[in-house]
Each structure stands twice: as structure tokens, then as C-alpha cells.
Symmetry: C2
Subunit: 753 residues, 2 copies
């Protein structure tokens, strides 16, 4: 029998791909239960106000209304990932435009909307603050009296010494003052990045039905059913076990779909109505009131020697936390994965502050905090090079970490490929663009990060026909996880792909899992399924020995067949025997450690052309070089890189949640300018392959890299092309035009009449 | 701590009850998937015909049509429980009015119906036969050329020696000819019972969606997902493992919902359309073309001595099998559970023939075959008593089995309570009704049966909060199974009921199960959950020993707490430790043996009044005495007895599928007269309790008893009241009136002018 060709590295199409593109996939809004009511949420029109009175009596007069719940009916309930500071429904105070005040459920959407209109809320407006720096001033209105009183408040990180301070993550290394004193040149710059929406196309949605025994059935646009379960349990005060969160497709995530945000509201409505309640946000509502990335101000100061060696760096990053910390991991951001950058810095001090503001609460965003900080760090690096008269690449190469060196915050890293990816990106990019008479430029940026660990699990069944079924708790939110799982199991069990099926389990049927996040899924869920394969093989080998009349040690397994002595038995035969005519099932659950001494890297080179008349930036080419290990599936792998590049391009050039007095004014996704196909430059990828990946088969993570470098690479290219430096994203034509005009004014001023 | 009061015997309300009565339960027709099409089936208008030509081209012209499949497109596919003789869609021949010929799927029901109308089928009618006795004549048209060629044909039972014979079940004991020669009196009677619908209110329905990897997702009005899976797999020729049958509520079963009948059709439509397809039969369609009980003719002959001892009995039962044997267990009926009756018979011969007829295929019916045979046997017993001048009860008491005696077919039974239940029923009934001038009478009947065994399983999880979750593969089709499971687990684990939840698994998430049937569920699924409890306790005890710093042998468990030495630990603490912070899960799968030497019994006494002017029979009182063991739940237990009595009352008095030339003419359930509340007499139950039940806690089965005795008890009471004996069911007013008129004519004839 010919050996099965290993499916590792094969371009297997995504398992769920065609169901999604043909509309057959089941999303939360598609789930229909008998008697389901439509829920709608009444939101605060004020960025900050005291609720004087809520009169919902008139809502009951609207025909078809079956539930009306105000914050004053269910006071004291908070929701949140870790720190539970966000009221499920506000009862005495609202803190942002969009804060939830009441909710209704009715037979039709129209009736629900009419009922919302009928609810009278009397507000006493309070002074509001939107800018995080302003919020830190003593005279600014205080949003929260005492953060320590919130459940899950991360005491070790609370920034109680700062007015409106929420959390502080800080790292120090060496003696930063001494460092700066030894520098030949010290430069400081400040960068600003606005809020961004994750750009998922499915708005937040949930459906809650309560069984007669009190069991709570939940369907939600959430990539992490187990996390949604614990969040709901804590918000409404029931044990997790009373809740079942079902698995459905998630229509885009990019960090924005990890929580149970409105599920407690649907629960209260369903409980009151005695009927299932479905809440589907409108696109405008989702855009304005969900969990965007944080508006961020980064001030970064570096000291270098004349020959371009970094000696000291201090950075202070201030994130506008928004009204609540509920939607952030540990109420902070996951900054520790990438705070140090790829550089060797002997003396350093980093501070990341979250400051409460009367704006929409910030959340995850495909490596939360990374695109903001990388924009600042890598633009600042170019400015250092410019001041030293060095090529930007050369400055980087002089400071990039070498094997075994400590990064800026003291992590001693191994397997560092930062230098290799930068050189590969430069090499692939060829000569700099320089068409005569055209304003062209090139910019580079480098980014690296660690990979998350955590819980994963799998239930693996050897069916009687010799196929395998993997019941995985991991929602495939679009990165191709289930396809990877299929390949890993097929390879480990030496079976063709079509003999392995992947099924998604829910919180009642599958082991605990934390959901896809932190670029960790292949690493964590991959280990879980491989552990299940090993256990299954061990169990099957015992039975194969009996079937083959030999000792277990004599049994070998190859390509779906057990061999022992002169005999052989197929997986199907052994499985049938092992299960005594029934399928044989093994269950694994594991916690994969967070690996602190490994970071993976990518480097990008952007070539741009700027129209000096309009300020329009056109990216002509984007080359991404990536530190990669074994590529399990080149299709999904490349999809992650290209998708990231597209996200990064939008972050660089067009995407922005516009705020006026704390109110998001983009009325729909058409006004939130995600890049389209027409905006995309040719994307080129260079894979810098090396062993040592911590994933199965030495795979390395790929999920959250190429989205973080484009803003800096493009901003650096714009500076290279037209000599203006932008300190704020996105690099809209208007901003570039204004910068060009300002520079012209400054240059021309002396000569003007 | 006070000991938990055992929930065994507590009147726990049915877990799913209120969801069902409030409309919140999810039935197959409620399941909505994106893009679902409506399927409709084109059926033969002929009882027997050759298909000359099918022209479906015009169906494609109907706007909204997305799939058109005829039998000639997918020839050679058969469906069936065991013997697969029923074409999924007929391609060359139809054998009953309602046989499936083609099917369509469209965007709307109207479009689907219009498309059916547009399909032209040219038939060449063939001679048809409807009565099974006529079908056995050599000149009758032959329905099947060679039964042995069907997959799954039960070779040991095929009645190939009979024209149109399908199967024969036969038992002989002693020398029946010799027996009759020794008798003082030999009587023979023939009885007829028509087809009955099971009376479930939810028509057959299914929904099939095919994933892009070929996985087939099924929702079906079927109480046995695993059986539906294997039937579909065989019908369409794919491995079972490629199919997932989801668990949904089943809206009544009574034997009629055990199969995948139309699922293969939905599959072919879904495959062609590339969209999910839902098939929901209309009530009329379900009534006319599903799997009713078999029209049956029973001829029974008994020899008795002058003092009323049975010495010989021969019975021949001929069932009109209908066009196919597909929907019967083993292509026969489950007659072996009750063929012998409750009587001692030294010489006996029983034959049960299935004969093919051009009528709707017969199926299960809450103890299939039992109500027909019991009607004949128990009426015949009264006729014997009448001929001997004995009281009917007295004749029975002289012949009822004693402990350890052999029944009529050689089963040596233990724990027989037939005598006790008959005496209890008589005692509870008091003096015979005898109001002056009114035509009142009393009748009795006795029935006993064995209980089925087979596969069951459970996945039991100790959650971290100290609750338990049982994932059961058993659909609760209305008998209260899940409530019983909850009680059994709560009792075994010494926990309050509210700490045990029951969740239904499907074919991907739960162990194999055969579904509720043969009154077996408490016996089989009960054993499975208890085995899971024992395994869980063993696993928890190991960890409790570590936690309590003692040896395992020193650990005791009581009311949710583990004790060891001076220490104690709650179930929640031990579970959290055992699962290392995750829930701890054990899985059991077992095959419970069919117990051949135990039968349970019930006896009924019916008091009736007959209106001699109209023939109307009014049951005034129905007393049921039941051989019971430990009653786990008196509410569900009594529900089974009362529900059975109601079914039996309908079988006795009103229910009948009317056939004209093989066509069922009841147009809707309103014309199929299920008894209403107004028809119900006072029901009285006497529980004759004794140990030795084979179920958990020595429980005895209760599911399929009290529905089988009413026809005989009531017919015997009618004879007692007005002196006419009816040999055919149901005992409609018209039949009784005609019998009274015929008797009057016979009596008056000599005296008339």
C-alpha cells in the first residue's frame, strides 16, 4: 500500500468556506425558535448624565410589546470580560453616547422600536470629557468614584494615582535617566491614533431562551462560547452550568466578538416575557456602540549614540479607555506581547495608561494596542535615522535583537528572526521607486509579538467505518482553524483528509476552550487534538494487539492499518473491536503554557506615490516578509497575511471612527472606509522559514502580524516621498494635503510679501 | 446535615412539559436554516400500477422550483428498518395509493405544489388486492417477485410458501392435534381489526442540509436519531458516520416515529438544489400514507375440558402487511413479547402471517400487533366461558399461569402477577352494574408482555459548581424519560433534583441508543445512567481520598459530601479537583439483555351501557389493575396508564382508517375519531405492587399495557349488556345497531308474518 501523502503543507480549501459564501452558514440572526420576540435597546443620547427618572409605562401600550426592562428594574448588574464595571442596563448614570438604559421585546421589530420611542427618560446632563489627556486633569469630570469596588478589578494594575486613571501597565529596565545622559541625541515625538471598528460585517447579535427548568439557552455572535457563558453567568448571577451557549458561525471577529455584551439584556427580556428574545444590532448601532480599538496618544523618547545605537527609551501610551474597562482583557490591553519592539535597548521605561473617557468602551482589535504603538515606534525610528543621517533600514539593523539578547523589557528571546525578515523584505523590494517627476517613496516597519497560551480541548472518536470525528470546542471565526485541525489529525493518524471530519461542540458537549485569540489557536487547539490522537492510538493499539494475537509492543501502525506479526487489521476493524461495536471516544483538555521567550516577526516595505495636488496617497506595492515555521496550510496561512495587510492598509489610510462630543458620527459602514479591492496594492509575501516554531510540526503563528506594520511603513513612505511627517492616523488625503500646505507655508513664508 | 429525601417515587413534573404546552418546544418543522426550500412529494393515485413514463420537464418551468427528482432519476434506492423493500421513489412500479413517485423542492410551498401538478406520470394500472386473505389466493396479483432479493430480508421468517406471503412467525408446543382430541369442547372464532393511525399530532417532517464537505445534517420527526441515521445511510449508500441526526422534540410517537422514511427524499432534493430542504407532510398525507397498524384477521380455536381447563389452542393471525415490510421490526411484528397470553396451554400452535397487499405499509403501534391479538384472544375466552356456562373471570382464573409455569409457547415465567391483577381489578370494580331497564354490562380482559432490551448510553459530567449534567441520547417522545433520568441520577448521587440537569445529545455528541420502544427505556437508559453514576463516584472517590488525606477505602459519600477521617469535602470541591479546574466527564454505553422469563400484566374491567335504539356504547367506568414495581415517578407512571386507556378506548370504539379500494378516505384527523375528553369514562387504577422488577430500583415497565385491553373488555361488556357479540373493531354504534337488528331479525323471523 502506498504511504498516505502527508496533508501537512497541503493547500486544503477551508472547510466552511463555501457554506459561508453561498449563504448556507448559520449565524445567530438566522437561528429561529418558536415564539421568538425581537429585542431592542434604548441607549443614552448623552455622553455623561444622571438618570433622574425612567417612565416606561407608555411602552406597554404599544401593541405587541411583551417585555420592558429598564436599568431601574434590574439595578446592580455589571458585565465584563474580567473587570465588571459596565452596567447591563444603567440605572443612575450614563457614561457614553450609546450606554444602555432600557430594552424591550416585542412581536415585531417595528413594535419594539415604537416601544423604545415611548420610554421617557429624564436625564440631568453632566460635564463630559472625551480626550484622555484632558480626562487626566484634576478639573475633568470623574467617571468612576472607586474602581476597586468593581468585581474583577485588577488591583495590581489600577491607576488610582491618576485622575480618571483606569489601569497602568509599566515596565522599567536599567536606569533610563542615566541612559538618556549617555546619549548623543535624544528625540521625542507624540503620535495619535483614533478609534477603529474591527470591520466585521455581522453586527453583534444574540438569542436567549429560558427552559422551564431555568436552563438558559444562548446563541451569540461570539467566538468564545465558554467565555460568553462565564460573562453571562456573572452578569446575571447564576452558575455557569445553568447556561448553554450553542455554537454558531461568527461573521467576522478581528477581536470584536469575544464577549457576551448584550446577552444579559436578552436574558432579562426573555425572563420577563417567558419567550425567547433575539437582539440583532443595526449596523449603525454596532458601529457606534460596540468595542472599537482605543483612541491612543503615544509619546516616545529615545536616546541614541552618534553611530546609531539605542541607549535609552521612554514611552508613555495613553489609551482612551472609554466609559468602561469591561471589554478589555484584564481590564488593560495585551500589550506585554509586543511592548519591547524588536530592538535592543539597555535602559527603558514604558508606561501604558488606560484613562476613562465619556466615549464608547474600547475592546480587542487583532493584537489590541499593537497597531497604535507600532505606528509610533516605527515612525519614531525613522525620525531617529533621519536625524542621524542614517538609512532607516541601517539604523534598524544596528539595533535589532540578536539571538539570546534581552529585549527592551528584559525578555531574553531565542530564535529571533527580526533581522532576517527585514533583510528579506528589503531584498524582495528591489531598488527604491524613483520615477522622474513623480512623488514616490518607500517606508519600512518591523513588528514582533509573543503568542498566547491557555485552554483547549477535543473529543476524538474513531467511528466504526474507520473515519474519525473531532468534536472541537473552537469556533472557526474565519482563520481556517477547522481546516488546520482536520489536517493535523489526518497527518497524525496517517489517514486521508476525507476520513477526518471536524464538528464544533458547544458548552454542553465539548471541553472547555478560551476561543481564538492571541494568535494562539494552532498552538493550543493543535496540541489538544494531537494529544487526543496519541491517546486514541494508544487505546486502539491495545485492542489491535488482541486482534493480531501479539504483544502491544509488537504492534505498529501505518497509514490506517495496524500490523503485528504476520497479520494486519484496519483502523475500522480495530475501532469496531475497541468500541465493542460502538465508536471509541477519547477526550482531552489541556492548558498550553504562554511561551515568554519566543517572539515571531514580520517586516514590511511599502512603496507609495503621493499626489501633491490632493494629498492622496496611493500604495503601489506592499512587501511583507514573515518569520514562518512549518506552514500547515498555505491557503489559510497566506489568507491571514493578506487579510492582515488589508486591515493594516485601512488603518493606515482611511479607517476612523469619527467622534463629535463623544458621539460616533459614522452612520453606516459606507462611512467607515474599509479598503476595497480597488484600494489594494499588489501584495507580495516573502516567507522566511526556520525551525523552532512552538506549534505542532514546528508551526509558527501568523494571525496578528501583518496588520500592525502598514501604518508606520506607509507613513514612513509618505515622508520619504514628499518630506512631510504625519503624526496622526489615518493618512487621509486631507491630512497629507494640509501637511504639505503647512510645510509650503513655512518654507515660503519668509519670501512671501 | 439532613439527609436528602430520595426523589424515587416523587411526583416530579415532566421536565419538558411546560415548554411543550406553551409552544416553546422546537419541533422539526420549527427548525429554520438559511436558504431552506420546501419539499413536496408526488404520490401514486393508483393502488397498483406500472410506471410507463414520468415527464417532469414542466415542473422546472414553475418559478421558484429548485429541485425535481423522480424515481427514474434515482432508481434502486430502498428504505426500511431492517428489510429494505420500499423504494425511496418508485421508478417502475407503484404498489399503494400514496407510493412515492417524484418530489420537488421550491422557494415556497405553493410553487412546490404547482410543480407537483406539472409532473406528468403515465401509469398502466395493474390488478390490485387489498384483503390479505384474498391476497393469499393464487389468482391474486403478486406484489413482489422475490422478497429474498431485498437487502435485510429476514430469511428465517420469509413466508415464501404463501402467495404474497411476506413473513411468518410461528410457535408450536406439544401436539396440538392430540390436544384438540382430548378436549370436551372446541370453539373457533374469527376476528377482524382495521388499520389505525398512531394518533400523533405532529405529522412526519424532516429537514436535510448538506455541508460542503458532504456531511449530511438531518432533523427529523423521529424518536430514534441513531436509527434514522442508519436507515438514511443505507437508503442513499453513504456511511452512517457521514450523517448527523440532530435531536429535536417529537410531537407524539406511539410507534409511528421510529424511521427515516422521507429523509432520503429530502436528501436527494437537497443534493440537487444545493440548498437545505424541509419536508413536512400535511395532516391528510400523514393520515393516508404513513405507517399505521396492520389490518388483521385472527382465527383462534381452543379446546377446553368441561371444567374449563384449556388443553389446546391454535391461532392464525393474518396481517395485511401493506405494500412493503419496510416499517416493521425485522420485517415482522414484535409479537414474541405477548403471543402466549397469560394462560397455561399444554398444546398450542400459533402462526402470524404478514401478507403483501396494495395498501399503505403497516408499522409499529404501541406494542405492534398486541391490541389486535388481545381483542381476539380475550373475546374468544369469554365465548369459551359462555359455552361452558362459566363466569368469564372464573374461566380465566382456572387457566392463568402460576409461578414458574410455562406459557403457551414454552416460556417459563417468574414473578407472574396475572392472577393478582385480575382479582384486584374485579375487587375494585365492585358489584356488576345492573340498573333496572338499562342495558348495562361488564367485560374483562387481561394482557401481559415482555420488555425489550438493547443499547443505551449516557455522558455524565460533574460540573465545578457541584451540579451534574446528563447528556442522554434518548429522545423523550412524551413518556417522561428525561424526568426519570433526572430522578435516577439525583437518587444515585444523593443530590436534590435541581442539581441534576438532563440534556439531549445527538448522533455526533452522545453514545449510541436505539430510541424508546418496547417499553424498555427506564430499564435500558436507566441502567446506562446508573452505570455512569457509579463510574463517576469511583472517579470522584479517588480524588476525594487525596483531598481528605485518607485512603480510598476510608472515603464515604453521603448527600453530596465526601467524608474521610475527620475531614469532608463537597462534591463541587472534589469535582473541581478531579477535573483540575474543568468539569469531570464519564461516558457509558451498554447493551441491556432482553429478559425472556419475565412478563408484566394488566387486567381491565369495563362497565358499559348500550343504547339499544342507536347501538351507541357508552363506557361508564374503566378499572385497570397493573402489576407494578417501584414507581419512580407517579405522575408519569399514571400518565402512561391513563394515556394507554384513552388509546385503547379509541381502538375499541371509534378509530379506524377507512379504505376504499386501498385508498384511505379519512381526509383529516377530524374524520379519524380519536377519543376526546367528552368520550372518556372515569378511569380507575389499582396498583398491584411487588418486588422483582428488572428496572432500576426494581421498577417495572408501564408503557404498552393498558392500551391493549380495552377493545376486548368493552366488546365483552357489550355482549354482557345486550347479548350481541361483535367480531370486528371498532364497536361503532352502527355496527352494534346492525348486530342488534340482525339478532332481532333472527329471533323474530319465525314469528313474523
Amino acid at each position: 500500500m502506498a504511504a498516505t501523502r502527508s496533508p501537512i503543507g497541503a493547500p486544503v480549501p477551508r472547510l466552511e468556506g463555501s457554506a459561508k459564501v453561498t449563504g448556507r452558514a448559520l449565524y445567530t440572526a438566522d437561528v429561529a425558535l418558536p415564539g421568538t420576540l425581537w429585542g431592542k435597546i434604548l441607549r443614552s443620547p448623552h455622553p455623561h448624565a444622571r438618570i433622574v427618572r425612567i417612565d416606561a409605562a407608555a411602552a406597554w401600550q404599544v401593541p405587541g410589546v411583551r417585555a420592558v426592562v429598564t436599568g431601574q428594574d434590574v439595578p446592580g448588574h455589571f458585565v465584563g470580560k474580567t473587570m465588571r464595571d459596565m452596567p447591563v442596563l444603567c440605572w443612575e448614570r450614563v457614561r457614553f453616547v450609546g450606554d444602555r438604559v432600557a430594552a424591550v421585546a416585542a412581536e415585531t421589530v417595528d413594535a419594539a422600536e415604537a416601544a423604545l420611542d415611548a420610554i421617557a427618560v429624564e436625564y440631568e446632563p453632566l460635564p463630559a470629557v472625551f480626550d484622555p489627556l484632558a480626562a487626566m486633569q484634576p478639573e475633568a469630570p470623574l467617571l468612576h468614584d472607586d474602581l476597586t469596588r468593581y468585581d474583577g478589578a485588577p488591583r495590581q494594575w489600577l491607576a488610582t494615582d491618576v485622575h480618571n486613571g483606569v489601569t497602568r501597565l509599566a515596565w522599567r529596565k536599567g536606569d533610563v535617566d542615566l541612559g538618556f545622559r549617555t546619549a548623543d541625541l535624544v528625540l521625542e515625538h507624540t503620535f495619535r491614533v483614533p478609534a477603529r471598528h474591527e470591520g466585521y460585517l455581522e453586527p453583534h447579535a444574540c438569542l436567549v431562551a429560558i427552559d422551564d427548568d431555568g436552563r438558559i439557552q444562548v446563541w451569540a455572535a461570539c467566538k468564545a462560547p465558554f467565555r460568553a457563558r462565564v460573562q453571562l453567568a456573572r452578569a446575571i448571577g447564576v452558575p455557569e452550568e445553568r447556561i448553554r451557549v450553542h455554537a454558531v458561525q461568527v461573521g467576522g471577529d478581528f477581536g470584536g466578538k469575544g464577549d457576551a455584551v448584550d446577552v444579559p439584556i436578552a436574558y432579562f427580556l426573555a425572563r420577563q416575557a417567558g419567550r425567547p428574545v433575539k437582539l440583532v444590532l443595526s449596523s449603525a448601532e454596532d458601529l457606534a456602540t460596540s468595542n472599537p480599538s482605543h483612541p491612543t496618544i503615544i509619546t516616545i523618547r529615545s536616546g541614541v549614540t552618534r553611530d546609531g545605537r539605542l541607549v535609552a527609551r521612554a514611552a508613555r501610551t495613553v489609551h482612551a479607555s472609554g466609559a468602561y474597562a469591561a471589554l478589555k482583557p484584564n481590564a488593560a490591553l495585551s500589550t506585554w506581547h509586543y511592548v519591547g519592539g524588536a530592538y535592543r535597548v539597555p535602559h527603558a521605561a514604558f508606561e501604558f495608561l488606560q484613562v476613562a473617557t465619556n466615549t464608547v468602551p474600547g475592546g480587542y482589535f487583532r493584537a489590541p494596542g499593537a497597531h497604535q504603538f507600532t505606528f509610533a515606534l516605527e515612525c519614531h525610528t525613522d525620525l531617529l535615522a533621519q536625524a542621524l543621517g542614517l538609512d532607516p533600514a541601517e539604523l534598524r539593523l544596528r539595533n535589532l535583537l540578536e539571538e539570546g539578547e534581552e529585549d527592551a523589557v528584559g525578555n531574553r528571546l531565542r530564535g529571533i528572526k527580526a533581522r532576517e525578515v527585514l533583510q528579506a523584505a528589503l531584498e524582495a523590494s528591489g531598488p527604491r521607486p524613483a520615477a522622474p517627476g513623480r512623488h514616490q517613496g518607500r517606508g519600512i516597519a518591523v513588528f514582533g509579538r509573543q503568542i498566547g497560551g491557555g485552554a483547549g480541548g477535543a473529543v476524538l472518536t474513531a467511528e466504526r467505518d474507520g473515519t474519525l470525528t473531532v468534536l472541537s470546542p473552537t469556533i472557526d471565526q474565519g482563520c481556517g482553524t477547522h481546516t488546520i485541525v482536520q489536517q493535523l489529525v489526518a497527518a497524525e493518524m496517517e489517514l486521508p483528509l476525507e476520513r477526518v471530519r471536524v464538528v464544533v461542540g458547544d458548552t454542553d458537549t465539548a471541553p472547555y476552550d478560551e476561543g481564538p485569540r492571541a494568535s494562539r489557536v494552532t498552538y493550543t487547539e493543535g496540541q489538544a487534538v494531537l494529544a487526543a490522537c496519541r491517546e486514541l492510538r494508544a487505546r486502539l493499539t491495545e485492542h489491535a494487539a488482541e486482534l493480531l494475537y501479539c504483544r502491544e509492543a509488537e504492534v505498529t501502525y501505518r497509514d490506517g492499518t495496524f500490523h503485528g506479526g504476520e497479520r494486519q487489521a484496519s483502523l475500522a476493524e480495530v475501532a469496531a473491536r475497541a468500541g465493542r461495536g460502538r465508536p471509541l471516544t477519547v477526550t482531552t483538555a489541556l492548558d498550553a503554557p504562554h511561551v515568554e521567550d519566543v517572539s515571531y516577526y514580520c517586516a514590511q516595505v511599502a512603496d507609495v506615490e503621493v499626489d501633491p495636488e490632493t494629498g492622496q496617497v496611493r500604495v503601489q506595492r506592499l512587501v511583507t516578509a514573515h518569520d514562518v515555521g512549518t506552514i500547515i496550510n498555505p491557503v489559510t496561512h497566506q489568507g491571514q497575511i493578506d487579510g492582515g495587510a488589508a486591515t493594516g492598509l485601512g488603518l493606515a489610510l482611511s479607517e476612523e471612527l469619527l467622534m463629535e462630543d463623544g458621539r460616533i458620527t459614522n452612520a453606516h459602514l459606507g462611512e467607515y472606509k474599509l479598503p476595497t479591492v480597488a484600494d489594494m496594492p499588489p501584495l507580495e509575501t516573502v516567507l522566511v522559514q526556520s525551525p523552532g516554531g512552538t506549534g505542532p510540526h514546528e508551526a509558527k503563528a501568523i494571525g496578528e502580524f501583518s496588520n500592525n506594520t502598514p501604518p508606520a511603513a506607509i507613513a514612513n513612505a509618505v515622508a520619504d516621498a514628499v518630506g512631510v511627517r504625519l503624526f496622526e492616523l489615518p493618512l487621509t488625503a486631507e491630512r497629507v494635503y494640509q501637511a504639505l500646505k503647512a510645510r509650503a507655508a513655512a518654507t515660503d513664508a519668509p519670501g512671501e510679501p
